[in-house]
Amino acid sequence: MRAAVVVFPGSNCDHDTYYVLKDLLGIETDLLWYRETNLERYDLIVLPGGFSYGDYLRAGAIARFAPVVQALPEYIERGRGIVLGICNGFQILTEAGLLPGALTKNISQRFICKTVKLRVENNATPLTHLFRYGEIIELPIAHGEGRYIAPRETLERLKRNRQILLTYYEENPNGSVENIAAITDETGTVFGMMPHPERNSERLFGTGDGLRLFQGVMQGPAGTPLP
């Protein structure tokens, strides 16, 4: 397996994600400059957290036109591998129309940085199959624009297709509709999540729950059946 962590101007979780993939899991991983368009060799492409282009205009609005993002539709269409957007990466994927909906300002108007509880709503995906259905996990969030919004018919479709993967549990920190924290697309190969799994991948930093997401992708697409 070979992974890429994309580096945009303003990415700041790229090295943390690289560390988890390369040093903790031993995956061959490249830091991929945002001007690259050849994605052929990668089984996993991570768009990391940060503030690409300073979040100017809207978070992700400028990065979505970066060459590497423009190359993603073909990569996805061919079913070449997994695309994972974390935080700013999720915002970029929604802006690019590769995931439905949008991420807008937190209800509190504040940047929120803390560990939250999440419920696993679908564990039959490459990203979540090492979790139990309904399991409560802990991951940190760190965002000012994380309130997930989508038109009613999109939400119905997300629910019907079980595209909602993680929801905020007990407390909804940002006002996301349906408590949504992570979703996948209709192909089941594109993932977006506001929480940061790379920041809780070792017991030193908490429960270590984040590591299992990356391990899940590494172990292949085997999904455990839904209850």
């Binding site: 802006e95 807008t104 300002k105 937190n106 209800i107 108007q109 919004i149 038109p151």
Partner: protein, 85 residues
Amino acid sequence: MKEFLVRVLVEPKPELLDPQGQAVERAMIELGLKNISGTRVGKLIKFRLKAISAQQARERVSEIAQKFLANPVIEKYSIELEELE
């Protein structure tokens, strides 16, 4: 070629909760401005554009507004054109 001053106004869609607008409205009331409601905070993007006609200018601005300046899931936009001498 004519030259136009373009103003694209982007604002949150009416059905979308705008916490920024609410916070600004509360502050305006505390500062003594009475009888206000419905405050929304958006953005203004202003630039000059050369085009053959106002119609062509408007078409080109609409295209970039839909594609880039506004996110149609959460925002709506309006365009103002002013011909420069």
